[in-house]
Symmetry: C2
Subunit: 321 residues, 2 copies
């Protein structure tokens, strides 16, 4: 007990004893066992982070934001990559709970409408904050950008500034918030300009480059007269995939197809035709999500919160500007 007190710098230990203990500990190469400590304190100083895809540059940047906050508060990050598979995501969350993490930050790959899994987690009082891809209506906090509005704005840019009327959408899965929201923004922009939606021009592409490539191929298979003039993509990787398909088909950006993305990841300004996209402050998203989670852990803020961060349109050449 005295050893414990000395090593934790408590007041009620004799100076000399303390000195001796610290010396001895050092000479032994002693390291306190946090596992044992956690067992009694019911606190691990550990936060679980689940991301859907570590290769999408948006997420490492979010992790940096999270890191900034957690480092200062002496929390460790347990990072897991769900690889866009809900099954892996569930496994990750269960393991993290079993590891007694003090809280979980997650961007969900879930593509089913059944929210039982997360409802149970929330009910179990596990501290949980979603970021970017949220599951709403189950009483969990969420940090995300104004997806719908931004998607509407970028679509309207195509309509109002460039006078394009035939606009396609390479969408994310409809069951994922950002997939749904960005699609709705696109729809609203069309409606406001009295453009009618063309079913052939809405193609689900997932969130990855390969999906964008495949989706664009479908559009390129339409008779030329039925092809759209502009493409609104659910995110940057999908836009890059689509660009690849367009290039392969010998068509030109923005002359044959204007195209837009969403994320503004590191490659967006660098590709052959720089990508007009929505700038999502990834670092900020991570920071805010981590801050909210720490508040929940510290019991400072009981109520769930929906935190919206404003994204901005980043105009480059791919839209025809």
């Amino acid at each position: 007990m005295t050893v414990s007190r000395a090593l934790n710098d408590r007041s009620n230990v004799d100076k000399k004893t303390k000195e001796k203990i610290i010396q001895k500990a050092k000479s032994m190469g002693y390291t306190p066992n946090r596992v044992a400590k956690s067992l009694v304190s019911r606190k691990t100083q550990t936060i679980g982070v689940v991301i859907p895809e570590i290769t999408h540059a948006f997420f490492p940047e979010v992790v940096r934001g999270i890191e900034e906050v957690t480092y200062r508060s002496d929390y460790q990050l347990i990072l897991t990559n769900a690889n866009e598979q809900f099954e892996r995501e569930q496994h990750a969350v269960n393991t993290l709970r079993s590891q007694q993490v003090d809280g979980i930050l997650i961007s969900s790959s879930q593509t089913v409408e059944d929210y039982a899994f997360y409802k149970e987690i929330v009910n179990s009082k596990t501290h949980l904050v979603f970021f970017d891809r949220c599951i709403q209506g189950i009483g969990a906090s969420c940090v995300h950008v104004n997806d719908r509005e931004s998607s509407e704005l970028i679509t309207r840019h195509l309509i109002e500034v460039h006078q394009y009327e035939k606009i396609a959408h390479l969408s994310g899965p409809r069951e994922v918030t950002i997939g749904r929201e960005r699609y709705m923004g696109y729809q609203e922009a069309l409606e406001k300009s009295n453009l009618t939606e063309n079913r052939d021009w809405i193609v689900e592409a997932g969130f990855k480059e390969e999906g964008g490539y495949q989706a664009m191929k479908k559009i390129l298979e339409l008779p030329q007269s039925d092809q759209p003039r502009a493409i609104v993509c659910v995110n940057d990787p999908v836009a890059f995939g689509a660009m690849e398909a367009i290039k392969e088909a010998g068509r030109k950006i923005p002359d044959d197809f204007a195209i837009t993305g969403f994320s503004d990841e590191i490659r967006a300004p660098l590709v052959e035709v720089p990508l007009t996209t929505v700038h999502q402050p990834a670092y900020e998203v991570g920071r805010r999500a981590a801050e909210k989670l720490l508040k929940l852990i510290d019991g400072e803020s009981e109520q769930p919160e929906d935190i919206e961060i404003t994204a901005t349109i980043q105009i480059r050449k791919s839209c025809g500007c």
Copy 2:
């Protein structure tokens, strides 16, 4: 005890009892406490990863490789970012040890010649594998590419193919393996062609873009007649920083300065003048490092190993090709 047996699917439990227990556990929302389990088993199924800079695209890619291996073996990753500060790195390692991780994967930011810290870690029998930036001669394993040779090859490309004779080097810190090795490769290439090294053309730039920018500025301050014709950079971010400085000065790549990098990160083929660089198989580095660590943990391979992965030269336009 019977509960423990049932939940761990041991053989000696009555079928009906087991069924009942599992049902009850589910209905209670019971999650086993791995912290308690770890305390007795002295195993956490957890691996610590320390990287110097999460924004350098090379490292997330390494993490992906690590992830692939550890996911299959049911290990969790605790990720920490040392931000190129050795102090933070030490703190991270100490915390990880205190957390009883089963092993540590680390790319060191250490810039001092004093290896006492890691010697102690190795002696304490903590399983440790370095990757990319190693600390050698202390009996730890290391996974890295053939830095010196690759650096020599890319420098010789500048000399032999392009006939450049005035070649500068924006180096990493001399105390870090890759800084030293890549510098030595550069030197050897010069020697083999009987070119003499010019002190003004060796500028330490660290590993980040900003460092590359500043270092290049110094070179641009030399009288034009004393300026080099080509720049060999210690890694891609430094090369990007240098490119920025060159552009600002109104000079041209590769006409005024040829330039090369090292990493072949995601931006290398995309920048204005695509970067000739050394392609480092980051995913492979991560995979191999994780595999070696798991072997050490399982006691399969006692002896430390130096694992060298072959990098390849990636020719693009920035060298004048």
